[in-house]
């Protein structure tokens, strides 16, 4: 059970003045149950890439295999694929349309061919997972706050019970509290359900805390692919493509340059705290 991309390339508006090579020969393997951060500057092709994973955009060349099956095969059921690979778009609250919250979340499951009762059950479950309590069920989705709307929209995709969940900038435009809440919930989902999660973001800080693998995109190509600490080792290179490593990376590297014996691979505040305290302890003993 995995997604494999082989030599995937995509060109927007080919043979016109607006021609853009959004993806250039991308090769990736996404095994089951991974929590992946997909990072890139605006226009790096990350949104285009994730739209390939559920067949919304068809690659100009190359192949994509989901669980070993070629999704571009003639008789491949794209709609079933879209149920298995759930994609939450940027600003997903802009896609809400139903009269009340529950029916909106039911839209996905109903399209999968479930009965109204089953769909409702799935919807309630999904709403519970994103922390929307039952009292909101009958409210119009347009009366909710921005953060709540976004959760309802995410629930709309979760209710389809995807095996792979892709979120395109799920925290854009949210305040720090709303951002942390959503990311915590996604991380909880990953642990609890064991589903594969791909988090698209341009903020290293956001993803460093949660993900186990980072894929860095630049100008339609995969620049780096590895564990956060491996990727952040290239922090100078990341800067040159308009990205930045988490701030703690800079702190530990500066300390290291000044002669402190710290671990330069620390990526979260906790790790940095540990290694800095450790370094000071060692130094204290020497003195």
């Amino acid at each position: 059970m995995s997604i494999v991309l082989e030599h995937v390339s995509y060109t927007y508006s080919p043979e016109t003045a607006y021609e853009i090579h959004a993806l250039k020969d991308v090769n990736l393997e996404i095994p089951d149950g991974q929590f992946i951060g997909l990072i890139g500057h605006t226009g790096s092709g990350k949104s285009t890439l994730v739209q390939h994973l559920n067949g919304l955009v068809r690659a100009t060349s190359g192949h994509i295999y989901f669980n070993g099956e070629d999704i571009y095969a003639k008789d491949y059921d794209m709609r079933r694929l879209r149920g298995k690979v759930g994609l939450v778009f940027q600003y997903p609250e802009h896609q809400l349309f139903e009269v009340d919250v529950l029916s909106d979340v039911c839209f996905g499951p109903k399209n999968q061919g479930l009965s109204p009762e089953e769909a409702k059950e799935r919807a309630r479950e999904a709403l519970r997972m994103v922390g929307i309590s039952e009292e909101y069920e009958k409210q119009s989705p347009f009366e909710l706050s921005g953060g709540q709307k976004r959760r309802v929209a995410i629930a709309g995709v979760l209710a389809m019970e995807p095996e792979v969940l892709i979120l395109d900038e799920p925290t854009a435009g949210l305040d720090p509290k709303g951002r942390d809440e959503i990311l915590d919930e996604i991380s909880y989902l990953h642990k609890e359900r064991g589903i594969t999660v791909i988090l698209v973001s341009h903020s290293m800080e956001d993803v460093a805390k949660y993900v186990e693998r980072i894929i860095v995109m630049n100008q339609g190509e995969v620049l780096h692919d590895g564990a956060p600490r491996e990727v952040f080792r290239h922090y100078k290179e990341l800067e040159s493509v308009g990205l930045a490593a988490p701030q703690v990376t800079y702190i530990v590297h500066t300390l290291k340059d000044k002669g402190f014996d710290v671990d330069g691979d620390a990526t979260t505040i906790e790790e940095a705290k540990e290694t800095i305290l450790e370094a000071f302890r060692k130094k204290g003993r020497k003195l």
Binding site: E15, Q51, R82, P92, Q95, G156
Partner: protein, 267 residues
Amino acid sequence: MIRDITLGQYYPADSILHRLDPRVKLMGTILFLVGLFLIKGWAGYAVATVFLFAMIRISKVPFRFIVRGLKTIFIILLITLVFNLFLTPGDRVLVQIWKLQITDKGLNTAIFMAIRLIYLIIGSSLMTLTTTPNDLTDGLETLLGPLKKLHVPVHEVSMMMSIALRFIPILLEETDKIMKAQMARGADFEHGNLIQRAKSLVPLLVPLFISAFRRASDLAMAMEARCYRGGEGRTKMKPLAYARRDYCAYGILILFLAVIIALRVLL
């Protein structure tokens, strides 16, 4: 699929046609359309064809880009063609199928009508492809300026037009995005009978309307924040001024129209 509509979309390039004063292009398009309807006979169409293709060459807009706009009127074109072909009475019957007959006159009108329609669309697409929406409404506002004396709100109308034109690509993009988002939730816009398909548009249209209203209210707010209060006493950053090339263009246009009229009168 949704990107195929080129009508009202600017194609950036550096050509004489792009640099022309928008008033010239507006007048030119109108004169060209008038010319098209004055044509009678092959010679006139030959002149129009040469003129149009010369303009396309000068504009540096790829030909494929221009033709793409024709897709949207394909059905209308087909209907016109069929009606003219079968329903024009004539002297000589060429083909008879049951009660329908194709006459020599019918064939003539059908072909000329089709050419006329195609040139009409290409001609006006060429204007919008080489003129930014801002320039276009600027030109229109200046051309219609005299109507202000008759209390026609020329400035307001042209402002509305420029906003509408500006929003076409934005709304198209938005439609594309919402469509994809709903397809990711399993929506199906392509299958089913007419009623099912109409129903499937609800998840697309509701968010689209909401977003259009939100954008409109944001824009109104932004304009008010910058003290917009209509055309009274408003000056322009770049007032339109004719250059030599514009007078030359007028000359060419008048020559074109003169040739067309001459051909109509003489032949």
